[in-house]
């Protein structure tokens, strides 16, 4: 085995030995890191589920115009003209009251109910679809159609989709912000545990330097310590996440069912699990590196 690999193997063995030499302290530190990591990971899983749900929803909202009954043909024509001159209009469909009643009857599955009605109570309607999901169209359209005598009521159907998208965007940003803050927390925690280890081992560092150890030789076991802590914390965080999904899965499914939704928590793929653990390991190593550089520098200056 070449010298470089041997030095790394030695450093890794030493790091594991140091971690195992204080089992309780190490476990507490690793678990606190794992819990910290599992929070943004859990939020990301929730957001992923929401994203899938949003992708299945119509990307455009719609606006429904309910017309006055007994509207003159001239007013109807004027309205049709006004509608087709609206900005950002992707589509407009007229549903006559007769067609609406037929649809209702079909949905109810009981033709006798419609026959018993003395008069068709449904109004004529227009369903307008904007070219993109943007509430500015809705307000513009409202303003332009407000003067039309034929319109009784305007109903905006796109708001809730837009609200859901806005909530998703907010959740995404919150998750990113939380992930950044907690990543800093991981760097700080591993940095602090490494610093404590370093202070405990200052005599060893001093002797090692006197007999020819390079800074790299001294740093290496501490960097591996940070890496191993991070990797273990990442693995445990993943287990916490998977357990959480398993526990919450039936409850999320039953709530989703009440809203006629297919939303469900999904287990993230193995590739993501490995990337997550790798990132956690790197954060641990970064914390250790900062602590080692700082402590060695202070020690050298003294």
């Amino acid at each position: 085995m070449n010298n470089w690999l041997m030095q790394h193997r030695h450093a890794l063995t030493l790091a594991i030995h140091r971690l195992a030499s204080t089992p309780l302290t190490s476990l507490l530190a690793i678990f606190s890191l794992a819990i910290t990591l599992s929070l943004p990971a859990g939020m990301a899983v929730g957001l992923q589920a929401l994203r899938f749900e949003l992708a299945g929803l119509p990307q455009q909202g719609s606006m429904t115009l309910y017309l006055h009954r007994h509207t003159s043909q001239a007013d109807l024509d004027q309205l049709a003209h006004d509608i087709h001159s609206l900005p950002g209009l992707a589509g407009a469909r007229f549903i006559s009251r007769t067609e609406a009643l037929a649809t209702l009857t079909r949905h109810l599955g009981d033709a006798s109910l419609a026959r018993e009605l003395r008069d068709n109570p449904l109004p004529d309607t227009w369903v307008l679809t904007p070219s993109q999901l943007d509430s500015s169209f809705a307000s513009q359209w409202r303003a332009r159609l407000a003067q039309d005598k034929a319109i009784d009521q305007i109903q905006d159907n796109g708001h809730w989709i837009e609200r859901l998208h806005a909530l998703y965007r907010l959740g995404l940003r919150l998750t990113i912000l939380l992930a950044i803050l907690l990543a800093l927390a991981i760097v700080t925690v591993t940095g602090n545990t490494t610093r404590i280890q370093l202070v405990m081992r200052l005599p060893e560092i001093e002797v090692s330097r006197l007999i020819g150890a390079t800074d790299q030789f001294i740093q290496r076991p501490f960097l591996y310590l940070g890496l191993v802590q991070g990797l273990l914390a990442g693995g445990i965080a993943w287990l916490i996440l998977v357990t959480g999904i398993l526990l919450l899965f039936p409850y999320v499914a039953s709530v989703a069912h009440l809203y006629h939704s297919e939303i469900a928590l999904a287990f993230p793929p193995l590739r993501q699990a490995l990337a997550f653990c790798g990132l956690s390991g790197l954060l641990g190593m970064l914390g250790a590196w900062i602590a080692v550089r700082h402590t060695l520098l202070v020690n050298r200056l003294q």
Partner: protein, 217 residues
């Protein structure tokens, strides 16, 4: 092997530990640095080992001016030296053999070679039967022997021993000085500092006497 050219060392505060020292030590020599406390023996050894830098002058190890050596090169330079300290500087959480293994790990020996060399070094100083003993269970003399074993484990060309017999009785002192003599016979350059003239084995090496930071003629 080592050449000092008008070396002076002045500490912050103005104390001058060494003044205009010029001397040369050849490969394979056994040199005794003597003088009372504060004569500058330890400072001279620290300068040679690049633990401290001279205030003025030049210090050559082979053809390298180590008074101007870059900080990152110092570890590589120190691997040429076996350092023995009066206070031993042993690691008390490691047993004897693991103390001796430290310089071998730093030098990058394989595990198998490192253990073989560490055992050989312990054997040379008579500590092999106590290879698993923690330093705290060893006597002062044995701790010093362990420090010597650690210093010789990598077979360095130069041994620097700073007051190695400072706290030892006469029997242990004589035993340790004989060990240095034996290493010197195998070609290792040895520089030993001692304030005790009785520690010097007569006729075995050159004596350099220091007084108030100057070499006495």
């Amino acid at each position: 092997m080592i050449r000092l050219e008008e070396i002076s060392k002045r500490y912050p505060g103005g104390h001058e530990a060494l003044t205009d020292i010029s001397l040369e030590i050849s490969a394979g020599e056994l040199v005794y640095l003597t003088g009372h406390s504060g004569a500058g023996k330890s400072t001279l050894l620290k300068l040679i080992a690049a633990i401290e830098r001279p205030s003025t002058g030049a210090l050559w190890f082979h053809e390298q001016n180590i008074s101007r050596i870059q900080r990152r090169s110092i570890p590589w330079l120190r691997r040429n030296f076996g350092l023995i300290f009066q206070d031993h500087k042993l690691l008390f959480d490691r047993n004897a053999i693991h103390n001796v293994l430290l310089p071998l790990e730093i030098a990058g020996f394989s595990r198998h070679d490192a253990f073989a060399r560490a055992r050989a070094a312990l054997d040379k100083v008579g500590l092999l039967p106590r290879e698993r003993a923690l330093p705290v269970t060893l006597s002062g003399g044995e701790q010093q022997l362990l420090c010597i074993a650690r210093a010789i484990a990598t077979h360095p060309p130069l041994l620097l021993a700073d007051e190695p017999t400072g706290n030892l009785d006469s029997e242990a002192t004589a035993s340790i000085m004989r060990i240095f003599r034996e290493f010197n016979r195998t070609g290792t350059t040895v520089i030993v500092s001692s304030h005790d003239p009785a520690a010097i084995l007569p006729g075995t090496g050159r004596v350099i006497q220091l007084d108030h930071g100057r070499v006495l003629p």
